[in-house]
């Protein structure tokens, strides 16, 4: 909210804008003090933390009441709360259609995308508890530090490396495309990694998303054998596939329904096979 007193000089467009802004702020404030959210309003409990604001240095939960609309998602509710009650409420979002992967949150005890989760579908649709992704450092409110996750993704060299001397166009067979289809769907949201106890205890563990990425390229028939060999070295390192203890937590939470555990297990078998191979 602006603390600047609007200039009364009418000819100054900046002053006019400021005046309008203040007006809107005042309207919002009024709306907030008498919010008409209906009888069946959703109670939104949101984790708050901000190292730069005195009373938010100690993490706490704020409660917002949001009107229940048909099909309202958790992200919609957060946006409503931010626009109506508290403009400092901070969270990431962009596409609002489960494509960009920026709004993975801890909603009612489980990692989900805010935009993909309709409140009516939650077990408890009365009170919705929204927290930042577990096992990540909280930067502010619902925003977590994703650096480590991206580092792990980069560690598996998540890009296609064509054969050195492809003879003409490199086509992929239908079967091969089917095989890697699910693994290509990852949107880098980090929900899987956040749900994994093993990843929480071992910072070097590649984690489900990175291993799934590795799977996507390892099984891509268009990459050469040497490259496959290199990829296997990354996959089967000490903090690679062997860390997985098949909790299925990642598979349970993945918003793109990627069979992560299955992929990790397949790579484990692949590693065993390649290492036992003596021909």
């Amino acid at each position: 909210m602006s603390t600047q007193t609007p200039d009364t000089d009418d000819s100054d467009p900046q002053a006019e804008r400021m005046a309008r802004k203040d007006e809107r702020a005042a309207e919002r404030e009024e709306a907030a003090s008498t919010p008409d959210v209906g009888d069946d309003a959703i109670t939104l409990k949101v984790f708050r933390y901000d190292p730069e604001v005195a009373d938010k240095q100690e993490p706490r939960f704020d409660t917002f009441h949001v009107p229940r609309e048909p099909g309202i998602t958790v992200l919609d509710a957060l946006i409503y709360a931010r626009d109506t009650y508290d403009s400092s409420l901070t969270f990431r979002h962009s596409c609002r259609q489960a494509v960009c992967g920026s709004d993975a949150l801890f909603i009612n005890g489980s990692q989900r995308l805010g935009c993909q989760t309709q409140i009516a579908d939650l077990n408890d649709s009365e009170t919705v508890r929204v927290e930042p992704l577990p096992h990540r450092e909280v930067v502010k409110d619902l925003v977590v530090d994703m650096d480590h996750f991206y580092d792990q993704m980069d560690a598996v060299e998540p890009y296609f490396s064509p054969k050195e001397d492809p003879d003409g166009e490199q086509l992929q067979s239908r079967e091969n495309r089917e095989k890697i289809k699910m693994s290509t769907r990852c949107i880098w949201c980090g929900a899987c990694m956040s749900s994994c106890n093993v990843a929480a205890g071992d910072n070097e563990y590649l984690g489900p998303a990175a291993i799934n990425k590795a799977y996507r390229f390892y099984f891509d028939e268009r990459e050469g054998e040497d490259r496959q060999e290199e990829r296997l070295r990354i996959i089967e390192q000490e903090h690679g596939v062997w860390r997985c203890q098949t909790q299925f937590s990642c598979t349970t939470v993945c918003p793109k329904d990627i069979p992560l555990t299955e992929h990790i297990q397949e790579l484990k078998r692949e590693a065993v096979k390649q290492n036992l191979k003596f021909w």
Partner: protein
């Protein structure tokens, strides 16, 4: 980054109500594994009473078997071992890529729980016999 907040283990065991089947299977498997290791030491301790001769061994075992609490603990031990074996088989299948679908692994976990229950119930009379 100026400062950030580490929420620690709150999310791990504080959220046990939201654990999914696979997570429970993991927790139980770890727990039963540790119990079995612990039991191994008790087992060795009891058996080593044989070092003091036949009579000492017989006396120790008979003395222990007379205690109701020991009988109950034995039933518990069976439960723990049965679950660990059955879930272990489940995990072997998962390693082989069989039943790795989300709902299949859930069902196989419930199956190992139910089988454990049946085995325990059936064997209760055997354990408590002659008490």
């Amino acid at each position: 980054m100026s400062q950030s907040h580490n929420r620690g283990l709150v999310e791990d065991f504080g959220r046990w109500r939201e654990f999914s089947a696979g997570m429970w299977a993991w927790v139980f498997h770890k727990f039963t594994g540790w119990v079995l290791i612990g039991y191994l030491f008790t087992h060795i301790a009891v058996l080593s009473s044989a070092l003091n001769g036949d009579a000492a061994y017989t006396q120790t075992l008979q003395g222990l078997e007379q205690l109701a609490v020991v009988r109950v603990l034995e039933v518990g031990l069976l439960a723990v071992a049965a679950f660990h074996i059955l879930n272990g088989i489940r995990l072997l299948f998962i390693d082989l890529g069989v039943g790795t679908a989300l709902d299949t692994q859930e069902k196989s976990f419930y199956a190992s729980l139910i089988l454990t229950g049946i085995i325990v119930v059936v064997s209760v009379p055997v354990f408590l016999e002659g008490l």
